[in-house]
Symmetry: D2
Subunit: 364 residues, 4 copies
């Protein structure tokens, strides 16, 4: 059984485990005051070309989103997100649990459009009774989105412009950041994010770590963010576990594990392990996409990242049954089934080939 159900089916990149072994009995201080965390922070700042950034390491995605959002909002404010945004749907109301509404805008293949955002904000403040409503307090977008799509630099800049006009912090949820930045379709870099956002995350859990999300505040974190993290139950006693993982991921990968030339857009980050292994997921995803296209299947949308959304007819589902696992994403109004195949840092070409050998040509 080969699984493409998600990008966190395997453990950690072996380099992380090796380092864990090598340093296991070193005595380190708790709560992020260890040497690994210090080093990881420095490496991340450097990769972001943002020496003044505040970097915090948290454990999981929902935890990170709700902690960051709660730290930025005042009590009468909510987070503006696309209606398909992770915080709006799949986080069990973690944001609302902290007292804040998620204010939703239409999604276009998972993306928020700057125009929709501007129109909403204009309408909001034009409404005579706006002070009876939840104030927009920050803008949340995912990069890549929940549908694997990417914001171009122009699109992100346009959203940034609207945010600046209304003085709203911009928060980019990068749970799959590596997979976005390594896509050939991406024209953004880590340094761009550090310039365009008020806070963004660098997802570890889905990109080679056992767990861990790095939170980067390019212009500094809210006061006492450490305590906020603790209050949200998000402070790991053995912070070394997070520090070590990001320290490894943001070190240079071994030359042999790199796959080809580093795309110019990503600049000097390319030799970091994080990006090298992310590139593997993209390469495998493009192979996988070709498998489906070449056999006559239709894409639900054309994703440039590691999540591929395929319209899978029953015959194909039968053929894969018991051999290849994937996720049933949604059933369209016309009855067709959208499935998601996710690759990861750990996906091999052999796994894609196994899928290919089982998949019959689309009979349409």
């Amino acid at each position: 059984m080969v699984s493409f159900t998600c990008d966190y089916t395997e453990g950690a990149h072996p380099a992380i485990l090796e380092r864990l072994f090598a340093t296991n009995l070193d005595q380190e201080q708790g709560y992020g005051a260890d040497r690994f965390t210090a080093s990881a922070r420095e490496r991340i700042r450097k990769a972001c070309a943002c020496p003044g950034a505040d970097v915090y390491l948290l454990t999981g995605g929902t935890q990170t989103n709700s902690t960051v959002i709660a730290s930025l909002l005042r009590e009468f404010e909510g987070a503006v997100a696309a209606e398909t945004g992770h915080i709006a749907v799949h986080e069990a109301g973690a944001v609302e649990y902290t007292g804040h509404k998620v204010l939703t805008l239409p999604a276009h293949e998972g993306k928020m459009q700057a125009g929709d955002l501007a129109a909403y904000l204009e309408r909001f403040y034009a409404d005579a009774s706006f002070d009876h409503m939840v104030f927009p307090g920050l803008v949340y977008i995912s990069f890549p989105t929940e549908y694997g799509t990417l914001y171009s630099k122009a699109e992100l800049s346009a959203i940034r412009e609207v945010c600046l006009q209304y003085r709203l912090p911009l928060f980019v949820d990068g749970a799959r950041l590596g997979y976005g930045l390594m896509s050939p379709a991406c024209d953004l870099t880590l340094a761009d994010l550090a310039t365009l956002c008020d806070v963004f995350t660098i997802g570890g859990t889905k990109v080679g770590a056992l767990c861990g999300e790095a939170v980067v505040f390019p212009s500094g974190a809210p006061a006492h963010f450490f305590t906020t993290v603790k209050q949200h139950g998000a402070l790991l006693a053995k912070g070394r576990l997070l520090g070590l993982q990001f320290d490894v991921l943001f070190s240079s990968g071994s030359p042999e594990s790199g796959s080809g030339v580093c795309p110019e857009t990503s600049g000097s980050s390319c030799d970091l392990l994080y990006f090298q292994i992310a590139k593997n997921a993209i390469d495998r995803a493009m192979e996988l996409k070709q498998v489906f296209l070449s056999k006559g299947y239709r894409l639900f949308l054309d994703s440039p990242t590691n999540q591929q959304f395929i319209l899978l007819p029953p015959a194909a589902a039968s053929a894969l049954s018991g051999e290849v696992a994937y996720e049933v994403w949604e059933t369209l109004p016309d009855g067709r089934t959208v499935t998601r195949f996710a690759t990861s840092w750990a996906t091999t070409s052999a796994q894609v080939a196994a899928l290919s050998s089982l998949l019959p040509p689309a009979s349409e």
Copy 2:
């Protein structure tokens, strides 16, 4: 530099790392639906002699406490705790952040007394305006306490009696549970806890894991506790990390790592790795206590577990400075300094010997 500052200065027990390595590329489902978690749950149920228990694995202590407490309380209720209880002091208001007051009772060497609890509850319901106050909704105790002390079976049973009388769930925070159960002074077993509590935790972070707290509900968890965990940001995507660790910790340790005869009180649990390594901490702590006593130092209180609280005069502090790390706990009204020396599963006799060699005789 040798550190006795806390019981989480090292990484994980090597058996955990070995297993991580061995299974790293196995594809597993996320969110606790992996094989390791299933196995760990089963092993924990067995060790607790409670086959019907619901077991959940969370990442950290504060997270676990606030999630469990919020899941048990109705909105108008608070958690009753000793004034020195971890939730009352050192969790940055995580419980209050979920909307619930921590109602404090006097602490006696860190312990709540059944008599104080009964008196408080009687007074509460006798007060004509009790319905203008926060209702007691559960009782929280730590085992061992924040001062390393232990409840005897009689003491815990007495608290249980009061809880039953007032229909209050009893929650035992076992962040250091192994160190409590392995103390020669302990007359309680895991099975006793499963009988006496409505929910208790088995701390992994401080007893050999990288992270992880097992939550045991002997009579079943609150409805949809999984979603509550998610909502609190406490659901780990790669639940295998937690499952694997508890699966290893609750497997039989290798015979050679056991240290002597298993005390009768702990019954058949004794051959589990979790308890074997916990016993090491206790043995080292008793050695360490002897070092201090034999040199004429005074204990702040006589702890039977892995945390030792010593009254350390300036001369001794000077002698240890730069060589041995420990925690300054508090300054007494008379100016004396209470320090805490913690041992762990990883502490060696050599480390205790190093301390001993540096420590001058108390000159009083």
Copy 3:
């Protein structure tokens, strides 16, 4: 200047003020333990034909909604509402502030449809990852809706059926309940509501009181609802103010203030002051609607209650300017302006006539 901006522009029905005067120096207990509250509760139970109902008197609408909703939901649950529901839009996130998401369904002239509700619930539980999402915990509807529309008995019963199937409490926000029940288009009675809902409110603020919303739990309130009310800051010290008002409103009105025959559907409640004065609002609203229709204006929708939504062209707006106040409700995509004219228990035919005399014929 005549104002139709809302239904709370005047003070209280004179009978209330008279009773306030007459009893002002009586000494009464606080917090709802006064004689007036006891009597009001009894009168409301009788009017609802529900002798076992628990009745609480709160001060304002948003307060009442968030208190009731928080008392009914478990922490992982949200309130299902039409997207135009008051709690979803105009309550400044008061529900989210208590930690709960508002889950929205499409609105049809302000109403939720049973079919949409059933489809949503079916989809929710069919979703493989439903336990990563906020659980539907209760259904909230407004009667009349924010657009003045009414659920028929059949429509409400259909929603009730779905609620029963999924064991969801049904909460009817009756901030304008009197205006709904007195509409000639209404086929529901207070007793029907007590049969079909788990909790509903009887709005006082908009129907002749200075302030006050009665909360009726036909089958009993959640445990310690009194304390929940206090915790939400919703417990009035001089509860007599609320008790007295509802006691007067649910007493028989003087014969001369009744206007005509009581519609059969409302049964014996019709001689209560609350319904007599509500009927005035309906009668004036129908006069007002006729004024607009007879002059050739178009309704945005055909409301059977005291809120009338009119498409008002600029020429008419100019003619009324400075003389008649109303609310600009929204601007349609095609640029037309929807306005709201609200009548109340205090609106006079003379006020409607004043509007009529200023309103030019629609020039279309």
Copy 4:
């Protein structure tokens, strides 16, 4: 039966009811945009000698406390209060419900001491793990306290000094403010409060209003406080009810209702109805205290305001039984009963005389 159980047993001062009658059918805007509220705000600013103050009118005390406190605290902060403070005990956890801990200090006859506050703050920031604890975010005191006692100007200034040093806002809960300022023992004025506090309240409910607490922010309210009020369910639709009451209370009382010479300390505020009627309560309280003292009873503490705490033996309780109502406050460890007798703006000398005639001499 004469009741001294609390200071809100009667309705409103007659001047309020008269004004309600006179203006009842005036059409006013909702939510505090009415003429009465504008006028009340202006009168309160003038009485406080603070023309730049922001003034909001809320309905009840617990509501006001939790709304103000939540608006001032950041999420990781708590409110520092005396352990007998109203928010710490009798508000059903309303502050915790908004996510914030109440951090308690020892109470001295109900009062916080500046020295205790300074010591706590010094210890807090000296603690190596202070960022694992709830940060002190504001200081809350009651004036008069729950025990009827008063801070002198020197005491309040000393607290203010500590607050300034640590940049903590100072919030004075003046639910009984009039009774404090009118006490002969008081050396503070409204203008002093406006100078020494960041926010304080002027209680109406206990001083002649049906309901209503004025919140005064001498240097301006937190941003969008209006929306915060709405979110807390504390925004009254018919804000005129609150505006009118404070407008009347802060108008000059009729000359004949004044009782003697205005004490110098209160300056020009003395001819305001609010203070005139407050003075009545003080005068009656001093009469009542004399009744008890002259008959040989002992005070629990010597309160200079309208709440008198008397040690009442069983014989006296029997004598009053069924004729005079009061509140049983607490039972002392030695078994004696502390009772509270409260006077108000409405208490008459005849009522005190009735008490006197029933009370037997203390037989001790």
